[in-house]
């Protein structure tokens, strides 16, 4: 076992990780944060996306023990008790959620995208989200959700 200290969603958490255990597993199984989803465990689907020291990464490819001391933000950090983050709200309203298994990863990836690019074009969105697989929607409503969120966050 590896002792581990992380700042997760702004709160310092002490936990442990087995050898080889991924950050995704630690979040899901030890810290009761199952929002980062376990779909492929090889960085191909983006469902487990988190911000690690502000960089968008797949938490399944982060060796938990190597993340000791670092800052992690998961989908659970977005919005507040009573209010959704604009990206979350846009995903609901645009019909971009079906089974929803890809959704937390897409929401986190979209937050990262709109942080860096407030007014992305279609093709910029497609390139930025090409690491987030969705098997249900065919992506049309996701594209719409990103535009909708961008408008809400920056147009006002």
């Amino acid at each position: 076992m590896n002792e581990l200290r992380l700042v997760v969603n702004g709160v310092e958490r002490r936990t442990e990780a087995r050898d080889g255990e991924s950050l995704m597993t630690v979040l899901r199984e030890r810290l009761a944060l199952p929002g980062s989803k376990n779909a492929c465990e090889q960085g191909e689907c983006g469902s487990c996306s988190v911000l690690l020291d502000d960089a968008l990464v797949c938490s399944c490819l982060v060796l938990a023990a190597a993340a000791h001391g670092r800052d992690v933000r998961t989908v659970e950090s977005l919005g507040s008790a009573g209010e959704l983050h604009p990206v979350q709200r846009a995903f609901v309203e645009a019909g971009a959620v079906q089974c929803g298994f890809c959704t937390p990863g897409l929401v986190v990836a979209t937050v990262a995208l709109l942080r860096d690019n407030p007014e992305p074009t279609d093709i910029e969105i497609r390139e930025a989200l090409s690491g987030n697989l969705c098997r249900c929607t065919g992506y049309g409503t996701i594209l719409e959700a990103v535009h909708r969120a961008a408008r809400e966050m920056y147009a006002g």
Binding site: G43, L61, L63, A65, A66, G131
Partner: protein, 280 residues
């Protein structure tokens, strides 16, 4: 599990744990672990070593092993082809994590940066607690996922001549993004040094060069003038493509057939020659 604070620390830890798996972005090693194909006893994390994230450019480019693909896309790092190759890697998530050193360390024939390093005739910089070695990229890979890196050594970076803008990279995969290379090609025309480099990915047990194709192309530039933009004719394009394809040693696998790989290498080579020829 050890986390290196800086380069000296990394080298000392690597000396203590010579068989440790090195991890930076984790994009290769963690897949192996998650799928149960590797269960390393010791792991040494080198992603916090600031020295490895530096790049310098001064006629010669030196890129630290810890530079991520995303960093390669931001700002000028002295190789347009490196930048193009970095853009073909995975997704933003992968590009934010994966590094030059990881691509070298894994030494996969499908590593996207590697054909560029081959075409640039790059030198791989290896260090241990006791010594530093410089290995020509051509000698670095010894087989699929095998390299000359020794236990206790850390890849600290790569170096190449600043070859100017006439270079490109392209890769074939059967999806429009997020795909492992079925065949990759880098072409570098160093107009100042009058040198042509061609690197081939996913077309043999290691990254291959195409020496005859390089000589042929050099001949074209000798004729047309190294300083000037040129448009190679159809015949030259075809001949160059054929020589590139002939240099490949591809196999059939689940991602593509050998025949397909040879074919697309020739096509990529022709297009690359056109594009690079136009850049002066």
């Amino acid at each position: 599990m050890e986390i290196a604070r800086d380069l000296d620390d990394a080298l000392a830890l690597a000396a203590d744990l010579p068989e440790a798996e090195l991890i930076a972005g984790g994009t290769d090693l963690m897949v192996e672990i998650n799928f149960g194909r590797k269960r390393p006893e010791d792991v040494l994390a080198i992603d916090r070593v600031a020295e490895l994230r530096e790049t310098s450019r001064n006629g010669r480019v030196r890129m630290g092993a810890g530079v991520t693909y995303t960093a390669m896309l931001q700002g000028d790092h002295g190789s347009r082809a490196i930048c193009e190759a970095a853009r073909t890697v995975g997704s933003p998530q992968i590009r934010n994590a994966g590094t030059l050193g990881g691509n070298l360390g894994t030494a996969s024939p499908a590593g996207d940066l590697l054909p560029v390093l081959a075409a640039l005739d790059a030198t791989v910089l290896l260090r241990s607690a006791r010594s530093e070695r410089r290995v020509s990229f051509g000698d670095f890979m010894t087989g699929p996922k095998r390299s000359v890196r020794r236990p206790g050594e850390v890849i600290v970076g790569a170096e190449w001549d600043d070859a100017g803008p006439a270079q490109t990279f392209m890769k074939v995969g059967t999806r429009n993004a997020m795909v492992i290379s079925v065949a990759g090609l880098a072409l570098v025309v160093d107009r100042a040094r009058r040198r042509v480099g061609v690197g081939l990915g996913s077309c043999g047990p290691t990254i291959l060069r195409a020496p005859e194709a390089e000589r042929f192309a050099a001949g074209l530039f000798d004729e047309a003038g190294w300083e000037r933009a040129t448009a190679p004719g159809e015949g030259a394009r075809r001949e160059f493509g054929a020589l590139v394809a002939a240099a490949a040693r591809p196999i059939d696998d689940v991602r593509g057939t050998a025949a397909f790989r040879r074919h697309v290498l020739a096509v990529m080579a022709g297009r690359a020659l056109d594009r690079v020829g136009a850049i002066a």
